[in-house]
Symmetry: D4
Subunit: 252 residues, 8 copies
């Protein structure tokens, strides 16, 4: 509430146009409206008609089906369901036109939108075991309207595999680098590319990988600039952030 609005309100009270209680109410509601919670709300809803997300972990198949149904009935064109079990997929598929991506444990109800982001997002993995996380990231980005290029199994132990794709890396607008074990992929890609690199450590590995801690620390300590990190196995978060960066443009 700006000072002139406040002045005007007080004048209305003074002139009897507004009762004291009506003024109280407005003053109590004020901070919430003033702080632009409409915006807050809007910014969290992913652009209308594109995708609404259900985090499937810890929800029963029935709960997922019911939430997805409600979204579709509200006019949602695409519903993205992450961390979805096969069991849940079967149940949802009986009620809704679900496409289930088994490797990434991702379900999609509705049609993937055409890419409307500015450029392409490269999703690269160190090994094939990182694919579940990579698919979660890639499908999230696609569901949010991005063109995605997948470069899987280009880990640094066979550098030529990665270098053979130097062009894709050079052309990308955002790169998601996904790796477990020693997580060196993020640094090497960060050194090759000149765009933001979102690093996703994975829990792939054994022994001293300590459930992804090794890759996490490695990525946080990346000596390449332009690299930032999300939580272990957080493919969704990386896909969402990549999409956000890829859609930057209008604002200035």
């Amino acid at each position: 509430m700006e000072q002139k609005e406040l002045h005007s309100l007080l004048e209305q009270v003074s002139s009897g146009v507004l009762s004291v209680d009506q003024a109280m109410l407005q003053l109590k509601l004020a901070p919430f409206e003033d702080l632009g919670f409409a915006k807050l709300d809007t910014h969290r809803a992913i652009r209308q008609g594109v995708a609404e997300v259900i985090y499937g972990a810890g929800k029963t198949p029935e709960q997922i089906r019911d939430i997805a149904s409600a979204m579709i009935q509200r006019g949602q064109k695409l519903v993205l369901i992450t961390r979805m079990t096969e069991e849940a997929a079967e149940l949802v598929a009986a009620a809704l036109p679900l496409k289930y991506h088994k490797i990434g444990h991702v379900g999609l109800v509705g049609k993937l939108p055409e890419p409307d982001g500015c450029g392409s997002i490269v999703v690269a993995t160190g090994g094939t075991s990182d694919m579940p996380v990579a698919e979660e990231a890639a499908l999230t980005a696609e569901a949010l309207g991005n063109r995605v290029e997948r470069l899987y199994d280009v880990g640094v132990a066979g550098l030529h595999r990665l270098l053979a794709h130097a062009d894709e890396l050079m052309r990308a607008r955002v790169i998601i680098a996904i790796a477990g074990m020693e997580g060196a992929l993020a640094s090497v890609i960060g050194g090759l590319a000149d765009c933001p690199v979102i690093a996703v450590p994975t829990s792939v590995g054994y022994g001293a990988s300590f459930g992804g801690l090794s890759a996490l620390l490695s990525m946080l300590n990346s000596c390449a600039s332009g690299v930032s990190v999300v939580n272990i196995d957080n493919g969704f978060g990386a896909g969402y952030l990549a999409s956000m960066i890829n859609h930057l443009g209008g604002k200035a």
Copy 2:
């Protein structure tokens, strides 16, 4: 040397405009890696005329002065020196037109460029003790040609301080959220804003903050989407990445 430049050079050779030896000379001046890894160099060199960076930690004042002098002599318009001690600043200032920013331990030789990024970068901190890291981030971003808004001491324990700046947060193109202790600032800002948030945990705190570990884990686990994390106290990395995101645009 971009691929189209190379193509043009080869055509000049083919058409006889350029002799083989003249072409050789040009190719030799381009560093070895230009023959294929040219982008490596280009992407790492910050846009010519803007800023070259010296990481001051572990270098003697003399080394810093000599490197900076060499850069200036090569025609560099601005040299950014991070983690610079006062002692080093004194020595460099005797030889070069250095402006030393004491709080952020940052030295600048040359003039800050006009902002040429697309939007503004907000640098927010939880407390006043996070200011050294924040200034490192802010000055880095400014040296790289960005407009920076500083929101210091807006930690979540006094939420109204942060909410009073909701507008700046809403308008930002990238936000750098810097906090020690429990690092909750990143989540709260990530929930308020709809742009990428780069979280920087700081080593501010004592006891169970374990040198920044608490803030680091907190930020990695942020339940707000669009948040990614860099190393503890890594103000430079955050400023660099924010600038990279803020300058995205031409490529598609």
Copy 3:
């Protein structure tokens, strides 16, 4: 046995009203520790007629049933069973009037008492996955005679949800803030409210949440004053302590 009772007993012996052997008997019936440690016993027994607690983890359904039966037979009006499996609930329900709260894994034999605490206890959670811990806390507090208000899923990534309940937070006498992941809820509530906040980190999360460690460290480092922390997932402990604080009053 209070000191004045002891004094009275000794006077009866002195005056011959009580024989030495009768006095011996009374002193022997009073547990040994009554002679100085009486309070130990009393303070641990929750106010007679309110609730006796069985920690269900690691006990067989049969053991739980037998202990609960014995308590009821001793005249206990309400028995609270925490960490109770559905299997145990079924077995106990066959023998006793058990009400089983599935989400919180809490069983109650007997009727919840009327609230007799001074004010209300707010139990707030960051997400819906924190509900099992929250229900353990809420039901514990209710079983101990407190009025409880539940504010679930008010995590800091959507601050408006929390602020919409600012009134409840302002009115509370004690708040239990329960959150996993980054655990920022405790700090934000601690900054909003002016009453003691008991923070409960939960093991909800994945990757770098390290089984609740992230939330635990975050809460311990809270920059808001008035916040203290109990063990990860310890809903019972928080409910018990909240009740203790809420019942403070008479003593001075």
Copy 4:
């Protein structure tokens, strides 16, 4: 500004007792957040005339002196300065009537208030090396208007020392249990007393105490009910929370 004050103000405007501009002035003097977040401010400001706190760590002696001077000039009756170095104390003492408590690194400008809390706060330590933290807690509580009883060096390795003070523990309204090393004091006191126990792990110890981690984990795992924990060495936080609990009463 409490809601009833706001109501009264609006009524004065409505009835013409107060002009719109006079009301504007009052509302402007009240900080912005008074219009809705008034409580935020009030609850954080410790009751007027009692104590304002300066966290001395990381501030220069000059900064501390200037902040304290400003507070005193604003009519503050008592200023509490924690983590204050002797050097800072000397400088402040030259300008203000400072009483410096060397062991607790606490400075007080002004007179300690009379205790106005409901009961007494016991501050107990395991060893003499825990005294700095204990004094920070005790002086904080005293500055906030509480009666404090100090029980130092009553660690569990000589249980009789602790038991000799069973009476004080029984009579307390809140107990602050401070210990390093194995931190067992909190559990033992938690088992003896029937009031809230605030446990403060300290960094006292060596080797596997890992800077207070051992005591911290020990206290979090306390098998005694009614125990909660604050950060390692956080005497101020414990004193503040204890005062908050001790002053509970009016609200219901």
Copy 5:
């Protein structure tokens, strides 16, 4: 073969009582290491006729049965089997006179020897959930010829339970203090008793007990003298060491 036996054998050879070949035979029967490392063997073999130990974890029921049978056939009077599953117990019981102790997962083939140690070993636990570890310790000690007193569920949260047994603690020659959670029992007992205390942290607990780490650190940091620690859940190790200490005597 003890040195004096060897000496005697050599004298017999020297005097002709024993031929060279007879001596050769005796020396060959003694394992190779008897010629110098005899003590290696002797000291590791628990005093003949007392007990031989099989560590059951990771062995199939068949393997356990076969090893135990072989021992019995070699004349072993008692075989102690630790970490034995019920399944293994059933299989072994079909072939050998096994007595299976379910709580401690300990099997005994043969008769427990009469106590021949110097004094009694007290095995104390903080809670009932520590009983599996305690029984492993107690039965190990009994199998090795010690008198054992069990004091279970005497945790420090109810100090009077422990103090009621002060006499047993005072009389003990060695005490094994077993506790999970905060592990304070070791310190409290260490402060009460004047004999060696072997502390066994257990993995009992949840959350910040981190699988026994909390109790382990607590016990290592015990401020009571005379306390040493074995591995988490290592009941056997504690029982073995306690027996070793209890049988000290002859040597000087």
Copy 6:
């Protein structure tokens, strides 16, 4: 207070020999005496005329001198001061007949007693850098009346050095095995000797020794039976416990 004492007391009250108030007093004092705190006290005081201990860390030279002086004046024949700085030693030596052992940072006021323990205590170290801890252990044991044999620098990387002293190890009644780095010494000695082995991890090392954590974990996981562990660098604790074990004998 035994039951017969209680009976007698009640009879005295009954017969008027004792007034009610006198009885009250005795009953109030009772629990403390009853619980054998005399014994408690005695057991903590090391056998009269042998040694009283001052933990020097965190005490000023003046405090150490004054405490030591008081002890000597009370008739103490030997005062042991651990973790004593050279500076403190100089100050104390000016007032008292101090012998300062520089390597172990141990000061002794008075004459070392004749060994009265049953056997010898071997103090073995892995390297020469472990000597400060070893000397603290050895001098503690000597001050408490034990015969000590020092085997320094017998680490497992040169096994022959250790094996060359197999005899001493075989003859020992207790062995203190002190090592940093990988801490393998405890296991190897535990496998060679047939007496209790007290393992002391030291903070000697760098990198992944993590301040003694490596040696600590190694020793806790010792596959040799009869090994227990004290805190990192806790030479005093090991010496004290070794003496306690070595003096066992009379009790049974």
Copy 7:
């Protein structure tokens, strides 16, 4: 691409022998060829006719069978499959001449080659539970053409078992030392032998072994020279490296 090659290429363009596009292609391919990626490729393929490796973890039985079949059809003489389940072995055995080594979870399709390495590789373990890792190492080394000697269960708690094999240790060209728990074996062997020792920590153990962390740290801190470490349970890595060292020779 050497300068004379570059010169020649440019001359071909100048003379029209090479088109601009053909030259572009060669220049783009150049760095990859120049950097010897042929070599890269070759060095990663294990010497032809010896062994190709499939890491079985995380692959379905069908995938393993198909990959192995393809290799055999390509003329591969031996296929080594690590971390292979029995279930996978059954499926593969139905299609290919598989020999499955149950303890090491290793499958071999084809015949083990004759040893062609320079010397023998000793694989030693601390206990029998380390055998799975040891067999993975031993079979890997054998599949790669090495002579392997197995010394199992020679842990340091019974040093004579290890010393009895001193000759094998002395004769070895490389030793793989495998141990869990305290991991002391690596240090002891490193001190005995004069050849490279590859230490493999295993996850064997419980409690404070923390999944192999204890052995890992112990081995990294080995005070014996010539010892290096691979990941916990990484038998394959140790076998591969040992083979690499054993085959060193021709190169100089």
Copy 8:
């Protein structure tokens, strides 16, 4: 002692040639001689005339000088002193012909030997700050008779720097890869080269590098085969092991 030697000894006793006591002595000494301690001794001494090593950390300048002098007097041609301070270097240089290498904190008394190893050892570092560790490794290897090639500052963030030296990497017989921060260098080199790679994590870095832990874990989890790891900052260990591997050859 072989059986025939034993037989012969017994015959000498039987015939009186050897007294019982003389036989006892031989039998007691036997195992030590039998186990080849001559060999043990020899293998630990680095090949005569090459180098003897003094670990300078924790030794006084005087101690270092005296040990070095003694070695030289014993005929040692080269003495290598690691972790040597400048202060120590000055003192030693006054007495002996010392060459002090400031960066690596290495001192050499005597002349470096001619390389006698089979091939060259490459010492590569990620950054210039890793040079102290690298020089320790390189000088150690040179002192032990190896040809060393230094490739400094070839970290993975600028891959072309490393690839420009592919030839050196391909030609090396052993590579020492030294890096702090994320430690990716070891994996990338391990993927490029076909010889053993010894990875040395360094403590270079800040924040989440946790004193080298990040690089250590990264290197242990290397997905490249042929990589093993030594302790953080252990340049000496890497140089020693590299030399050992490089000198392998004669034995088979």
